[in-house]
């Protein structure tokens, strides 16, 4: 099972420390995107940033992602199986809302506390997420008119 972990632009060392603690790595191929984090994962391979992150999404069976909306919506549109992890180390708690959104709609598994992660990784193989239907943006023509775009 290929597991790709991504934290976008915001470091999240505690997540990688937690992943390193988890047993049962024999069947897992781990790749981590760690941003400017100081903790370097011991298991699997890692990099800080990458241009072709879509390729890593494509190759992954499971993506563990931080609560960044950009990453989450992209993964939902790709139909990936995701575990969304709340980064409680940030000052700004706004990620809670999207993690709740994933949890309530069963679009993926939600991890509100890092202690839940081992359990969620065991659960994800059998988990079948709700299919995501994106509510399309429909104000493009209005914006063109308001801004008088030529």
């Amino acid at each position: 099972m290929n597991i790709f972990t991504t934290v976008g632009n915001t470091r999240f060392d505690a997540l990688f420390e937690e992943i390193d603690k988890i047993e049962n790595h024999q069947k897992w191929q781990l790749i981590h995107q760690i941003s400017d984090g100081q903790y370097l994962p011991k298991k699997g391979s890692y990099f800080r940033f990458v241009d072709n992150i879509d390729q890593y999404y494509a190759d992954a069976d499971i993506v563990i992602t931080h609560g960044g909306a950009g990453t989450i919506f992209k993964l939902l549109e790709l139909g990936k199986k995701i575990i969304v992890v709340l980064n409680s180390h940030r000052l700004d708690p706004h990620q809670t809302e999207i993690v709740n959104y994933i949890h309530d709609n069963e679009y993926g598994l939600a991890c509100f506390d890092l202690g839940q992660l081992p359990g969620l990784l065991n659960k994800i193989t059998d988990f079948s997420p709700t299919k995501y239907k994106k509510p399309a943006f429909f104000k493009t023509a209005d914006i063109i008119e308001i801004l008088d775009i030529m």
């Binding site: 960044g68 950009g70 992209k74 000052l91 509510p135 104000k139 914006i143 801004l147």
Partner: protein
Amino acid sequence: MRTHTFLAIYSKGGHKEEMDRLLTLLKQLKPKLKFVSIADMPDCFDAMEHFICPEPRDKFNKWSMPFRQIYSSCTTFIQTLYLLKNYKISGLISTGTSMVIIPALLFRLLNKKVIHIEDWSRFNTRSYTGKIMYYIADTFYVQNKSLLKKYPKAVYSGRL
């Protein structure tokens, strides 16, 4: 003659992704789309002219914020004046970053259009920038219907 255009304001991470999607949609209808931009990162979308402004907020340290905000505000103020002088700008559009506040105030004083799209990660609470931009912007869009409870006069736009 000064080029007729608009100003796009975005920032790292999700806000940049949102602007990317918005510009892609705009280009489908207007393939010759021209714009100028301000962001806390180098130009991502081939703008006619782009300014980098320091990020006004620190995600981990709240004590540095007042200083950063003053510095960021002065920077965007000067950048906006320069752009207004050199381009014929009809209005601005932002995808939810606090560095938009000063340019937005300037634009409204000059009777130019201001469109703000509230961050797509918001479902039940207002963002810091959104709370302020709700009163400054001519048009305030939300990407999640549940947010209309918090912003009664906002317009639901669907999701970028």
